[in-house]
Amino acid sequence: MRTYHFSELPYPDVWEGRSSLRVNIPNEVYDPKVGADLYERFFDEWVLCDELGLNIMVNEHHATATCVNPACTLPLAILARITKKARLLALGVPIANRPNPVRVAEELAMIDVISRGRLDMGLVRGSPYEIAPTNAKPVGQMERFWEAHDLVLKAMTTRDGPFSWESENYHYRKVNIWPRPYQDPHPPVWVTATSPSSAPRIAQNRHVIATLISGVIAKDLFKAYRDHARADGWEPGLDRFAYCAIVGVGETEAEGLRRADQIADYVRTSPIVAKEFASPPGYKKIPAEIATIRAGPNAGNRPLKTPEGRLIDQKTATVEDFIEACSVFAGTPDQVYDQIARFYDFTGGFGNLLMMGQGGHLSHEETVANLTLYAKEVQPRLQELHSRPLAMTAE
């Protein structure tokens, strides 16, 4: 089992009492001096990950106090130089919102070369509230995502360029990226999914399927991927599956729960956005959009389901609720291991744990303690997971 540490790079001091933390929160409330200190500590935490044998994941969002990383490739470019062993996962680059996918390919290839082949290349569609700050068209976004995906991969794998590309969405006459990626033919591709209907296309490309803090739905996603792969005549290894959960480890159960509880403010604040940005036209398929209309004022609340079928409201859930819903693993190292093992069995197994080890107001000292305990007491034991039969099967 590989573990990647993930933080959204939150700017939590201004979260209190606001009706929208995204798109229309003016940046006058952002203090660049505080921001500089925050970046410094986050880089310290990433360097620590490298020393502890953990890998690193970053993501990006725009115009928001929930995440002050507006470009995955920027921190990864620095990390490529200052880390030694950690794999560097962008999860991901919202390629359907980027006007220039070839530029994306160039940036990622350069990171891959600087890091001598440590890049994991996550390509994502992006959340609905990312539409407004980027002004990308929500209608047809999924088709544009896959076209940009094809173009990025062609740019990375073409060795006898230049080639041309003329389509509805993109126009290039001379594509010929320098540098080309270090990993041959290209860095591993990761794609996020929230619905099993997305899994077949990811499986068809043999990419890593990742799902973020989504609880039991991971089981259906992974099953849909495995089913498609087997029907296609190949058996996906565990490395094709990734699950992201909040992880809080403590010397005592109370300490682990407290850490996870602070990190979980990420999921509690994540949906706080003015309604007009939450569901742009065409982002969802028509039946889902109709369901949103019918949900009325409750639209936007995506409850988590526990394996027993209980619904958990993410805005108000306690850390115990989240543990029950498998979106948080927390407690002592033994408890965290047991929770991960249970979920591993429940989903049919996965080879990548994306550990949200920092979030919300969790301080640098607490984050260091959390990561260190995890790396020393939990991570080594996860190798056992692969060498024993599953307690339950996902079939």
Binding site: P138, V139, E276, I286, E289
Partner: protein, 255 residues
């Protein structure tokens, strides 16, 4: 509602009345079956109100992405139905399509009426001419659309799946054709002088989506165009003040 096939694109068409043909091009939201403005016009004219390709239940042809596509489509419709001396009436988004058609010109067109039309850019680069239908608080948006928003919001909770599907398709199509540049064509402004039709620019005096001075700017760029305001009306004067709007449109078409 009739079903009509134009060059392989199936659309819904509301058609009533006899007389001179009036082609009504609807706003982004479409129009209700019992639209009083259309019903009143149908007392004097052969009124054709098609649902634009992609909107309501009309087909959405693959690859169509701009209002140019819609403009050429409606030329096909005029040709196929053999309509002559058509009064082209477009409201809001439909007004944009009508302006694109009129700039190109067509011998089947006889009159042009633009009602609170979108489609052009007049102000500087940091000033929006057209309020944002999509990125605006819903309650605020209603006050921009209507002089009196009371009772104007359809109760979508009462719609069945088919009706909601049509609503969602219209929302998608509206966003698709008008997302970027937002609800206008930067090229259109400089070619408005090509419009060679007698033109009435009709505007809701209290329109908060595109203000009356935008309408005046539209009219000023179309040779000989008349500009008229409708009192106590917002972005949709033909809905909010149907009788007064019909009066002005009829006087213009017959004049």
């Amino acid at each position: 509602m009739d079903r009509l096939d134009i060059g392989g694109v199936g659309i819904d068409l509301w058609r009533q009345g006899t007389g001179r043909p009036v082609l009504f091009l609807h706003p982004g939201d479409g129009f209700p079956e019992d639209d009083p403005f259309l019903a009143a016009l149908a007392r004097n004219y052969d009124v054709l109100a098609p649902w634009h390709p992609g909107f309501g239940n009309s087909d959405f042809p693959a690859g169509w992405a701009t209002v140019d596509d819609l403009a050429y489509f409606y030329f096909d419709l005029l040709d196929q139905l053999g309509l002559e001396d058509v009064a082209l009436v477009g409201a809001s988004f439909g007004g944009w399509i009508a302006a694109e058609m009129a700039v190109r010109g067509h011998n089947r067109l006889g009159r042009l009426v633009l009602i609170d039309a979108l489609g052009i850019k007049l102000s500087d680069r940091t000033t929006r001419d057209i309020a944002d239908f999509h990125n605006t608080d819903a309650a605020l948006l209603e006050t921009l659309k209507w002089a009196n928003p009371e009772g104007r919001q359809p109760d979508l909770m009462r719609y069945d799946d088919d009706a909601l599907t049509a609503v969602v398709r219209s929302r998608e199509a509206f966003a698709h054709y008008g997302w970027k540049p937002y609800m206008h064509n930067p090229v259109l402004t400089r070619w408005l002088h090509r419009i060679a039709l007698p033109t009435l620019v009709l505007w809701g005096a209290e329109d908060g989506i595109v203000k009356p001075d935008y309408g005046q700017g539209y009219a000023a760029r179309i040779p000989g165009a008349r500009f008229e305001q409708v009192a106590n009306a917002g972005h949709f004067p033909h809905i909010e003040q149907a009788a007064a709007s019909v009066e002005l449109v009829r006087a213009f078409i017959d004049g």
